[in-house]
Protein backbone atom coordinates (compact mmCIF):
# COMPACT_ATOMS: atom_id res chain seq x y z
CA UNK A 1 0.00 0.00 0.00
CA UNK A 2 2.85 2.31 0.96
CA UNK A 3 4.78 1.60 -2.26
CA UNK A 4 1.59 2.08 -4.34
CA UNK A 5 1.16 5.51 -2.70
CA UNK A 6 4.76 6.44 -3.50
CA UNK A 7 4.50 5.35 -7.14
CA UNK A 8 1.31 7.43 -7.53
CA UNK A 9 3.12 10.43 -6.10
CA UNK A 10 6.18 9.82 -8.33
CA UNK A 11 4.05 9.71 -11.48
CA UNK A 12 2.03 12.84 -10.59
CA UNK A 13 5.13 14.73 -9.36
CA UNK A 14 7.30 14.01 -12.41
CA UNK A 15 4.43 14.56 -14.88
CA UNK A 16 3.49 17.88 -13.27
CA UNK A 17 7.13 18.98 -13.29
CA UNK A 18 7.47 18.02 -16.97
CA UNK A 19 4.34 19.97 -17.94
CA UNK A 20 5.47 22.98 -15.89
CA UNK A 21 8.91 22.89 -17.53
CA UNK A 22 7.37 23.00 -21.02
CA UNK A 23 4.82 25.71 -20.07
CA UNK A 24 7.35 27.97 -18.31
CA UNK A 25 9.94 27.67 -21.09
CA UNK A 26 7.27 28.40 -23.73
CA UNK A 27 6.09 31.48 -21.78
CA UNK A 28 9.68 32.68 -21.31
CA UNK A 29 10.36 32.17 -25.03
CA UNK A 30 7.29 34.27 -25.97
CA UNK A 31 8.28 36.95 -23.46
CA UNK A 32 11.86 37.11 -24.73
CA UNK A 33 10.61 37.33 -28.33
CA UNK A 34 8.34 40.24 -27.49
CA UNK A 35 11.13 41.95 -25.52
CA UNK A 36 13.66 41.42 -28.33
CA UNK A 37 11.20 42.84 -30.89
CA UNK A 38 10.71 45.91 -28.69
CA UNK A 39 14.47 46.44 -28.30
CA UNK A 40 15.04 45.95 -32.04
CA UNK A 41 12.32 48.50 -32.82
CA UNK A 42 13.85 51.04 -30.44
CA UNK A 43 17.33 50.54 -31.87
CA UNK A 44 16.24 50.50 -35.51
CA UNK A 45 13.86 53.47 -35.52
CA UNK A 46 15.00 56.33 -37.75
CA UNK A 47 13.68 59.81 -38.33
CA UNK A 48 14.19 62.01 -41.37
CA UNK A 49 12.99 65.62 -41.45
CA UNK A 50 12.18 67.20 -44.79
CA UNK A 51 10.98 70.74 -45.42
CA UNK A 52 8.12 70.55 -47.91
CA UNK A 53 6.83 74.09 -48.14
CA UNK A 54 7.74 77.67 -47.21
CA UNK A 55 5.05 80.23 -47.82
CA UNK A 56 5.00 83.88 -46.84
CA UNK A 57 1.39 84.43 -45.76
CA UNK A 58 1.71 88.06 -44.56
CA UNK A 59 4.42 90.77 -44.57
CA UNK A 60 5.88 89.45 -41.29
CA UNK A 61 4.61 85.86 -41.35
CA UNK A 62 5.83 82.66 -42.97
CA UNK A 63 4.26 79.25 -42.91
CA UNK A 64 6.69 76.32 -42.91
CA UNK A 65 5.63 72.70 -43.40
CA UNK A 66 7.68 69.58 -42.85
CA UNK A 67 7.26 65.88 -43.29
CA UNK A 68 8.89 63.76 -40.63
CA UNK A 69 9.47 60.30 -42.02
CA UNK A 70 9.66 57.55 -39.41
CA UNK A 71 11.20 54.29 -40.56
CA UNK A 72 10.91 51.11 -38.49
CA UNK A 73 12.55 48.04 -39.98
CA UNK A 74 10.27 45.01 -39.63
CA UNK A 75 7.81 46.39 -37.03
CA UNK A 76 6.35 43.64 -34.82
CA UNK A 77 4.87 45.64 -31.94
CA UNK A 78 1.94 48.03 -32.49
CA UNK A 79 3.14 51.53 -31.74
CA UNK A 80 2.02 55.11 -32.10
CA UNK A 81 3.98 58.33 -32.26
CA UNK A 82 3.24 61.76 -30.88
CA UNK A 83 5.46 64.67 -31.85
CA UNK A 84 5.68 66.60 -28.58
CA UNK A 85 7.42 69.84 -29.46
CA UNK A 86 10.29 71.11 -31.51
CA UNK A 87 12.68 74.03 -31.82
CA UNK A 88 14.09 75.69 -34.88
CA UNK A 89 17.66 77.00 -34.75
CA UNK A 90 20.30 78.13 -37.14
CA UNK A 91 22.79 75.33 -37.75
CA UNK A 92 25.53 77.06 -35.74
CA UNK A 93 23.08 77.47 -32.84
CA UNK A 94 23.42 81.27 -32.74
CA UNK A 95 19.76 81.97 -33.62
CA UNK A 96 16.68 80.41 -32.08
CA UNK A 97 13.55 80.68 -34.22
CA UNK A 98 11.04 79.54 -31.66
CA UNK A 99 9.37 76.64 -29.99
CA UNK A 100 6.43 74.85 -31.67
CA UNK A 101 4.06 72.01 -30.94
CA UNK A 102 1.58 69.90 -32.87
CA UNK A 103 -0.88 69.52 -29.99
CA UNK A 104 -1.91 65.95 -29.31
CA UNK A 105 -1.70 64.25 -32.68
CA UNK A 106 -1.03 60.52 -32.42
CA UNK A 107 -0.04 58.60 -35.51
CA UNK A 108 -0.07 54.80 -35.69
CA UNK A 109 3.35 53.63 -36.85
CA UNK A 110 3.98 51.29 -39.76
CA UNK A 111 7.30 50.41 -41.38
CA UNK A 112 7.24 53.82 -43.09
CA UNK A 113 5.14 56.61 -41.61
CA UNK A 114 4.99 60.24 -42.57
CA UNK A 115 4.07 62.72 -39.87
CA UNK A 116 3.23 66.27 -40.98
CA UNK A 117 4.37 69.26 -38.91
CA UNK A 118 3.93 72.95 -39.48
CA UNK A 119 4.86 76.25 -37.89
CA UNK A 120 3.80 79.84 -38.34
CA UNK A 121 6.89 81.99 -37.97
CA UNK A 122 6.22 85.61 -37.20
CA UNK A 123 7.62 88.77 -35.62
CA UNK A 124 11.30 88.65 -34.55
CA UNK A 125 11.52 84.98 -35.54
CA UNK A 126 10.44 85.91 -39.08
CA UNK A 127 13.25 88.48 -39.24
CA UNK A 128 15.75 85.82 -38.14
CA UNK A 129 14.36 83.49 -40.81
CA UNK A 130 14.85 86.18 -43.44
CA UNK A 131 18.44 86.77 -42.28
CA UNK A 132 19.16 83.05 -42.60
CA UNK A 133 17.51 82.96 -46.05
CA UNK A 134 19.73 85.80 -47.21
CA UNK A 135 22.92 84.22 -45.85
CA UNK A 136 25.14 81.94 -47.91
CA UNK A 137 24.36 78.89 -45.78
CA UNK A 138 20.55 78.72 -45.60
CA UNK A 139 20.42 75.72 -43.34
CA UNK A 140 18.17 75.30 -40.31
CA UNK A 141 18.23 72.77 -37.53
CA UNK A 142 15.01 71.02 -36.48
CA UNK A 143 15.26 69.63 -32.95
CA UNK A 144 12.27 67.89 -31.47
CA UNK A 145 11.01 65.19 -29.16
CA UNK A 146 8.73 62.34 -30.12
CA UNK A 147 6.87 60.13 -27.69
CA UNK A 148 6.56 56.55 -28.88
CA UNK A 149 3.89 54.41 -27.26
CA UNK A 150 4.23 50.65 -27.64
CA UNK A 151 1.25 48.40 -27.00
CA UNK A 152 2.73 45.43 -25.16
CA UNK A 153 1.06 42.18 -24.06
CA UNK A 154 0.63 43.50 -20.51
CA UNK A 155 0.37 47.27 -20.67
CA UNK A 156 1.93 50.15 -22.51
CA UNK A 157 5.51 51.36 -22.63
CA UNK A 158 6.31 54.88 -23.69
CA UNK A 159 9.71 56.21 -24.71
CA UNK A 160 10.71 59.73 -25.60
CA UNK A 161 13.15 59.88 -28.50
CA UNK A 162 14.96 62.94 -29.89
CA UNK A 163 14.22 63.87 -33.50
CA UNK A 164 16.78 65.96 -35.31
CA UNK A 165 17.20 67.08 -38.87
CA UNK A 166 18.96 69.73 -40.93
CA UNK A 167 17.21 71.24 -43.92
CA UNK A 168 18.00 74.02 -46.37
CA UNK A 169 15.66 76.94 -46.88
CA UNK A 170 14.85 78.09 -50.42
CA UNK A 171 16.63 81.26 -51.43
CA UNK A 172 14.97 84.43 -50.09
CA UNK A 173 13.36 86.93 -52.43
CA UNK A 174 15.42 90.09 -52.70
Amino acid sequence: MRSEGRSWQEIVGVSLLGVLLIVSLALLFLTEQSYAAFRATLQGIQFAVQLTDVEQVAPQQAHLRWIITVTIPNPKIPASLELLDWHLRSVDGSMHLGYYTTGEIQVALASLTEVPAEALIEGPNFEKLQRIQEASERALLFQGMARLRFRLPRGEESKIIPVEGIFTLPEGEE
Partner: protein
Amino acid sequence: MKLLRWLVLALMAGVTAGASSALQAGEFLKFSPVSNNISYALVALVGLSIGLLVREVQEGLIMALSITFVGAITIFLALYLPNVEVVATAPELILRSVWWGALSTFFLTIIGMVVGRILSGE
Protein backbone atom coordinates in the same frame (compact mmCIF):
# COMPACT_ATOMS: atom_id res chain seq x y z
CA MET B 1 21.30 6.29 -9.43
CA LYS B 2 19.77 8.21 -6.52
CA LEU B 3 22.20 11.09 -7.08
CA LEU B 4 21.41 11.17 -10.80
CA ARG B 5 17.65 11.29 -10.10
CA TRP B 6 18.25 14.05 -7.56
CA LEU B 7 20.38 16.06 -10.02
CA VAL B 8 17.85 15.69 -12.85
CA LEU B 9 14.99 16.77 -10.57
CA ALA B 10 16.95 19.77 -9.22
CA LEU B 11 17.87 20.84 -12.74
CA MET B 12 14.33 20.43 -14.15
CA ALA B 13 12.68 22.14 -11.18
CA GLY B 14 15.32 24.90 -11.00
CA VAL B 15 15.02 25.79 -14.70
CA THR B 16 11.20 25.70 -14.47
CA ALA B 17 11.10 27.87 -11.33
CA GLY B 18 13.71 30.28 -12.74
CA ALA B 19 11.90 30.63 -16.09
CA SER B 20 8.57 31.24 -14.30
CA SER B 21 10.15 33.69 -11.90
CA ALA B 22 11.85 35.60 -14.75
CA LEU B 23 8.39 36.31 -16.22
CA GLN B 24 7.63 38.70 -13.36
CA ALA B 25 11.06 40.41 -13.35
CA GLY B 26 10.81 44.17 -13.84
CA GLU B 27 12.36 44.00 -17.32
CA PHE B 28 9.85 41.44 -18.62
CA LEU B 29 6.70 42.32 -16.67
CA LYS B 30 4.98 44.15 -19.55
CA PHE B 31 6.17 41.65 -22.16
CA SER B 32 4.96 38.50 -20.45
CA PRO B 33 1.76 36.94 -21.81
CA VAL B 34 0.68 36.04 -18.24
CA SER B 35 0.20 38.09 -15.08
CA ASN B 36 2.75 37.98 -12.26
CA ASN B 37 0.26 36.02 -10.08
CA ILE B 38 0.33 33.20 -12.63
CA SER B 39 4.13 33.19 -12.69
CA TYR B 40 4.17 32.99 -8.86
CA ALA B 41 1.63 30.14 -9.05
CA LEU B 42 3.89 28.29 -11.52
CA VAL B 43 6.82 28.51 -9.07
CA ALA B 44 4.60 27.26 -6.22
CA LEU B 45 3.44 24.37 -8.44
CA VAL B 46 7.09 23.43 -8.99
CA GLY B 47 7.42 23.24 -5.19
CA LEU B 48 4.24 21.16 -5.03
CA SER B 49 5.52 18.66 -7.60
CA ILE B 50 8.83 18.38 -5.73
CA GLY B 51 6.88 17.99 -2.47
CA LEU B 52 5.32 14.85 -3.96
CA LEU B 53 8.76 13.47 -4.85
CA VAL B 54 10.90 14.11 -1.77
CA ARG B 55 10.70 11.96 1.36
CA GLU B 56 12.32 13.87 4.24
CA VAL B 57 12.33 17.46 5.47
CA GLN B 58 16.13 17.71 5.11
CA GLU B 59 15.94 16.36 1.56
CA GLY B 60 13.22 18.92 0.79
CA LEU B 61 15.28 21.82 2.13
CA ILE B 62 18.39 20.82 0.16
CA MET B 63 16.20 20.45 -2.93
CA ALA B 64 14.68 23.92 -2.33
CA LEU B 65 18.17 25.44 -2.07
CA SER B 66 19.30 23.65 -5.23
CA ILE B 67 16.18 24.82 -7.10
CA THR B 68 16.88 28.38 -5.91
CA PHE B 69 20.50 28.15 -7.09
CA VAL B 70 19.62 26.74 -10.53
CA GLY B 71 16.63 29.14 -10.69
CA ALA B 72 18.85 32.17 -9.98
CA ILE B 73 21.22 31.13 -12.81
CA THR B 74 18.20 30.70 -15.12
CA ILE B 75 16.81 34.14 -14.21
CA PHE B 76 20.25 35.69 -14.70
CA LEU B 77 20.66 34.13 -18.15
CA ALA B 78 17.07 35.00 -19.16
CA LEU B 79 17.68 38.66 -18.30
CA TYR B 80 21.33 38.87 -19.31
CA LEU B 81 21.22 37.40 -22.82
CA PRO B 82 18.79 39.92 -24.38
CA ASN B 83 20.50 42.81 -22.51
CA VAL B 84 24.20 42.02 -22.96
CA GLU B 85 25.25 45.53 -23.94
CA VAL B 86 23.18 47.22 -21.17
CA VAL B 87 24.33 44.84 -18.44
CA ALA B 88 27.97 45.28 -19.45
CA THR B 89 27.75 48.92 -18.32
CA ALA B 90 25.19 48.60 -15.50
CA PRO B 91 25.04 45.05 -14.06
CA GLU B 92 23.00 46.25 -11.07
CA LEU B 93 20.03 46.67 -13.43
CA ILE B 94 19.45 42.92 -13.52
CA LEU B 95 21.13 41.81 -10.29
CA ARG B 96 18.25 43.19 -8.21
CA SER B 97 15.75 41.24 -10.33
CA VAL B 98 17.88 38.09 -9.95
CA TRP B 99 18.06 38.55 -6.17
CA TRP B 100 14.31 39.08 -5.74
CA GLY B 101 13.53 36.28 -8.19
CA ALA B 102 15.75 33.87 -6.24
CA LEU B 103 14.23 34.92 -2.92
CA SER B 104 10.65 34.48 -4.15
CA THR B 105 11.61 31.18 -5.79
CA PHE B 106 12.97 29.82 -2.49
CA PHE B 107 9.93 30.76 -0.39
CA LEU B 108 7.33 29.79 -3.01
CA THR B 109 9.08 26.44 -3.52
CA ILE B 110 9.00 25.80 0.25
CA ILE B 111 5.29 26.75 0.41
CA GLY B 112 4.54 24.50 -2.59
CA MET B 113 6.50 21.64 -1.01
CA VAL B 114 4.53 21.92 2.25
CA VAL B 115 1.27 21.83 0.27
CA GLY B 116 2.61 18.85 -1.71
CA ARG B 117 3.46 16.96 1.51
CA ILE B 118 0.00 17.71 2.92
CA LEU B 119 -1.70 16.54 -0.30
CA SER B 120 0.33 13.36 -0.34
CA GLY B 121 -0.90 12.64 3.20
CA GLU B 122 2.55 12.38 4.81
